[in-house]
Symmetry: C2
DNA sequence: CTGAAAGCGCTTACAG
DNA sequence: CTGAAAGCGCTTACAG
């Protein structure tokens, strides 16, 4: 574990430490012959450049900060994996920090990451308004949003076309014959919640089905949220024939509520989710849902942020909107539903 | 965003940069009066110390490397969250690297983390033999294992008492009257798989129930693994009355297999899992399982590694073994089972 | 209690 | 194509 420096290598190779530095950085201004000599010394000694010294002098840590809602949420864990893999490929490492989607903690994360010296930050879960992220962007610090975006469109982001995904799911229910369609939506101060709600409303409108306010409930993207909301929706006198969950977790909560109330899916009402999470496909669930490219979102976000880090002053914003895919399973039935 | 240095602050406060450094490091050898002057300048200028310079000169990055099986697996994501939170409290940040439990990738992770300059590494998923981790330990590099341990006991680790958890679950089945108990176990080249298998065997032995080799299958800790193994176990002429899943994912696969074969749980056979994952408690699952303190394992691992980093030459190993808890749910029935 | 000197291991200019 | 000089922003000794 003896630590060699660039000077040790230089001495061994009989050159100056500058030449060693050039070899290390693949600078072409080194004679092939010299390069070989140096390379040989490097491998023989098992020399490894000191990352800290390098980061210090170049002012580049090769570190990306990831502000994630909660690393223990599988959806975000999958984005994180996409981020990790691509970062690895591009020579970066990633430091994560869970914000719990809480403004105060988000600020703490940002401060912490800044202190650590990351070259840029990726946010998975901003609110439409998120002062900590907006300040960074205003300061010209490299930032990419993934999954959710800010209200202010002037920034780099990668999202799913949530509007379209939700529109497609709604239309599918309509085509099956459902007219009384409720939605348990994620909070609309989050771009994902808002866009999915908009997609739902637009599909109803396009098919001439009037909106019914009592069929729309906003809640958190969680099974508990779905459970509570479903208990309200399912005891309505004029119960919806179909319920759209803002994501698969919400749908899961709806399933629990149905079981608690003695209702069957899809016999008593149809159900859809969003995200195509692992459990959606399981034999006990069979949830119609919208799949989005979760891993890819993370991967693309890294490409953009590295781009931004390398050529600082981009004067345009990268906006990547990925197309979702409706996955049809048994939870919404396959036939025209009549009442 | 103007970046000040320690010298700018010194000039503003009318002291030497050394005094500023002392204030920054809470060195007591500064007069209260001087300290205040410096503090004032620091806050007024919004000075932030340069982490890279500090890391470079102190040779301490305040970074912990986390080699995790797969960050997108909820079990590991929860460990990671425990690690993150405690690291944050202790002034460290964590860089993760997914190994996919593959020796080659594990080596790549270690190399990458070393290059990044982490002060220590935590491994969540070592095999009983894991050259990359063992080499680090042999070199005196701070390493803590969490969840799984190496065969070589001479290292720091935090695990659940997997033997006991499995023993308890087996005994519970025996007490309910089951005698034909099968196990679909995680691979026994992993300490978790091995210890759970041992607990099962010991419980049978203690209750005078002979082992039946055809009732024991090893597979990966995954739903797919459980599914395939269950299809073998459930078509045995003398089918087991109860199946123990090596973890909840395996149990989930068993449930799918049961459904595919038209069998009901617990009517046709009882089922247990391990980990008390989120879905185990859901109304469609109701899985008897063994809960372990996943988040806490991560948290404790960080305490140990920071301890190790700070006082390098510990000559004893921290070994923390947490007690699991049997959680009884409907999947194994509540009554004496007779055949 | 405070400061002047030296240096951590690299890279960025500048000469040749 | 190669090297000598200077410096990144801190901290670690060493003086006083």
């Amino acid at each position: 574990m003896k630590k060699y420096t660039i000077r040790d290598v230089a001495k061994a190779a009989g050159v100056s430490h500058m030449t060693v530095s050039r070899v290390l950085n693949n600078n072409p201004r080194v004679r092939a012959n010299t390069r070989e000599k140096v390379q040989k010394a490097i491998t023989e000694m098992g020399y490894e450049p000191n990352a800290m010294a390098r980061a210090f002098v170049t002012k580049k840590s090769q570190l990306i900060g990831l502000v994630v809602s909660d690393i223990s949420n599988p959806f975000y864990a999958e984005i994180s994996r996409g981020i990790e893999d691509k970062a690895f490929d591009l020579g970066y490492s990633v430091i994560f920090c869970s914000s719990d989607e809480n403004t105060h903690r988000t600020e703490a994360c940002v401060k912490n990451l800044l202190r650590t010296g990351v070259d840029g930050m990726i946010f998975t879960s901003v609110h439409l308004k998120e002062p900590a992220a907006e300040k960074l962007i205003a300061d010209g610090f490299p930032v990419v949003l993934v999954n959710r975006k800010l209200r202010n469109p002037n920034c780099h982001y990668v999202t799913c076309n949530n509007f379209q995904g939700s529109y497609d799911a709604t239309e599918h229910l309509i085509n099956l014959g459902y007219k009384k369609i409720g939605i348990i939506s994620g909070y609309s101060h989050l771009s994902t919640g808002l866009d999915r709600l908009k997609g739902y409303k637009k599909a109803l409108e396009d098919h001439g089905i009037p909106q019914r306010p009592e069929y729309i409930i906003e809640t958190s993207f969680s099974a508990d949220g779905g459970f509570e909301a479903a208990k309200e929706l399912l005891v309505l006198k004029d119960r919806p024939e179909a319920i759209m969950g803002g994501n698969d977790y919400i749908a899961l909560g709806v399933m629990d509520a149905a079981e608690a109330l003695g209702l069957s899916i899809p016999e008593d009402f149809a159900l859809t989710g969003f995200d195509n999470t692992d459990f959606a496909a399981r034999s006990r669930t069979k949830l119609t849902t919208v799949s989005q490219k979760i891993y890819e979102m993370g991967s693309i976000a890294v490409q953009i942020i590295v781009d931004t880090i390398d050529r600082k002053n981009l004067d345009y914003a990268h906006k990547v909107v990925l197309n979702p895919n409706l996955i049809i399973r048994e939870s919404c039935g396959y036939q025209l539903h009549k009442k």
